[in-house]
């Protein structure tokens, strides 16, 4: 299994600002994923972050809005840029280690 720590666990932000979410894993992993879970909804994949290469974004998500860093095999960040109330969601980091494991999520509220 994997222990995944996300920071912050929650935050309230003002419209137009940006927030960076950190994800730390207790073991080295090749593939890390960032998901969004809007209120009452299931999970939607934002992007796949592999160490040593640029992140791969899913349809509807772009790098300018959700820049991702993956500096090493245990850490990644997701930035939500120029936030609007529609960005209010839980953002989840996950890793594939045989099974797919998730962090506890970062609950973001944009006013």
């Amino acid at each position: 299994s994997a222990v995944i720590s996300q920071k912050p666990s929650r935050d309230i932000c003002q419209r137009g600002t940006s927030l960076t979410i950190q994800c730390q894993v207790d073991s080295q992993v090749t593939m890390m994923f960032w998901y969004r879970q809007q209120p009452g909804q299931s999970l939607t994949l934002i992007a796949t972050a592999n160490q040593g290469s640029e992140a791969t974004y899913e349809s509807g998500f772009v790098i300018d809005k959700f820049p991702i860093s993956r500096p090493n095999l245990t850490f990644s960040t997701l930035t939500v840029s120029n936030m609007s109330p529609e960005d209010s969601s839980i953002y989840l980091c996950s890793v594939l280690l045989g099974e797919l494991f998730f962090g506890e999520g970062s609950r973001l509220t944009v006013l």
């Binding site: 939607t44 099974e99 797919l100 998730f102």
Partner: protein, 109 residues
């Protein structure tokens, strides 16, 4: 188009009333099907992975099965603490992961 559909969207059971949750999928190159439990305000908690049709896995009151088109999560004699949202996700060709919409389960004492 790859799709994962869960049914029902919501399910209310009395304590001890067994039932099943369904996850049907149409994807190319299935690599695995995951089941998760998610409590409010928390990240999904891994339950099972199934890799091939005919495979079954059990954990306490939960049993997951897999066919070529769908998976079932059977809940035997549920308790109120089993109340949660249950998510299935399919790992398929191209290392894609697609989630279903989830089933919100409520078990009343």
């Amino acid at each position: 188009e790859d799709q994962v559909t869960q049914s029902p969207e919501a399910l209310r059971l009395q304590e001890g009333e067994s039932s099943s949750l369904n996850c049907s999928y149409t994807v190319s190159g299935l690599r695995g099907l995951f089941w998760y439990r998610q409590d409010p305000g928390k990240g999904p908690e891994f339950l099972f992975t199934l890799y091939s049709a005919g495979e079954e896995k059990e954990k306490e009151r939960l049993k997951a099965t897999l066919t070529k088109k769908e998976s079932f999560l059977h809940i035997t004699a549920p308790k109120p603490e089993d109340s949660a949202t249950y998510l299935c996700a399919v790992h398929h060709a191209g290392n894609m992961l697609t989630f279903g919409g989830g089933t919100r389960l409520m078990v009343k004492p």
